[in-house]
Symmetry: C2
Subunit: 246 residues, 2 copies
């Protein structure tokens, strides 16, 4: 079903300076010196546009680069041999995609744009050599990988021991937190993904996600209009996450 090898996304040789990017404090360049930043600018010279629904890469593709989301929104999906799929994450501006590829030199998941998006290409070989030169860059890169591991462990906790309401509440709080770090409102958000994609990520069926949204709305915690969500009672959401049941 996903057999086309060359995603029809445009490659742009435009200069994309990390040093001038407003995401630099959320992305790979955190805390770098001017000197280091200039070398980064040289390395991250390629931008790529990915239209909604298209893939940045597929599982099995050779791994050559990491991608930093510049604009837009992605999901990553792993598939079992029998076709079952699991959304393993949603990525927004400033977040890195493709770390899975390092282990076997091939990607192990699909990265799909949930809206028209742009990414900055970070050629992996160059990142390794540059991070041999710059201690801070090396350390920042390691932190990003480690953070992904910690995040994954949190998702395991969620999938392994939380109930539907707790999962959805945790998901919403996590989203708003990341959006807030990017200057968006803490209380209003537009979901970029379908109920089914949320369900896949949270280990629930789309009907359960929908019902839980409705329940939160009935309880006055949320206002839900399709993908427009308004959080009316953040602390109630927090209480739901902290096992209000058991």
């Amino acid at each position: 079903m996903t057999q086309e090898t060359a995603p029809p996304s445009r490659l742009e040789a435009l200069k994309v300076a990390c040093s001038a990017c407003n995401l630099r404090e959320l992305c790979l360049p955190v805390g770098l010196s001017d000197d280091e930043m200039m070398s980064l600018d040289d390395m991250v010279s390629t931008r790529r546009s990915v239209k909604r629904g298209e893939s940045l890469f597929h599982a099995g593709d050779p791994f050559a680069a990491l991608y930093a989301v510049r604009t837009g929104f992605f999901k990553t999906v792993v598939s079992a041999s029998d076709g079952r799929e699991q959304v393993t994450g949603f990525q927004m501006a400033g977040e890195l995609i493709g770390l899975d590829g390092i282990s076997t030199d091939r990607h192990s998941c699909d990265a799909v744009a949930l809206e028209d998006s742009q990414v900055c290409m970070i050629p992996y070989g160059q990142l390794e050599s540059l991070s041999r030169e710059f201690t801070l860059l090396q350390h920042q890169f390691h932190k990003i990988m480690s953070r992904e591991i910690v995040r994954d462990h949190g998702v395991m906790l969620l999938l392994g021991s939380m109930r539907a309401e707790e999962r959805l509440a945790a998901f919403l709080l996590n989203l708003t937190q990341r959006l807030q770090a990017r200057g968006f409102s803490a209380s209003a958000l537009v979901l970029r993904m379908t109920r089914e994609e949320i369900g896949s990520y949270l280990g629930l069926k789309l009907e359960t996600v929908s019902r839980t949204f409705s329940k939160f709305q009935d309880e006055g915690i949320l206002e839900v209009k399709q993908r427009d969500i308004r959080i009316l009672d953040q602390s109630a959401l927090q209480r739901v996450v902290n096992g209000s049941s058991s």
Copy 2:
């Protein structure tokens, strides 16, 4: 409940040469030259013993080093604020523990020995500087982190979309695979963890784990005697994993 900060494990200044370790092809030193191996030997100079039930580190402890399992068996556990726990992994000889700590300079999980164990301490600062010097070591380290991310994504798939039997079958196949890579039998194994710990890892209750073991035994797939497991029909296990139901 886990408040003691200094785990009562012995520190040993014994020389532990990676170059002479029979785990070197499974551990950090994969593929290093003699030169590089010698530098590793200098770095990994401390061994530590951890008795069964004791912790290598706790969540919240400052992060200073990674640990390579030399002998024995560990589990890593994350805890939610309300006390819920999730086993995020089981580590055996040659596997690295502590990667979670890099992201915030503090550990985010507990690492507990499931039997009397020994680990090699890898001071993290030294690992970073050494991997600036040796390309192969750097790449190997990155591969190990990436492999952990890929593994975690596999667990998410398991937790998010597999049924109890499929989870346990996948767990057993994964264990035997790793044991086989260490020269153990592919068909006989001794579980180092309780049903409850398996359940926590797989997002199931211990009773469900126990029942599923019994079911596999009734079906002639396994022979189960407490923690001694004999796999009678490996391909049947494989079939269970590949969604024999849906």
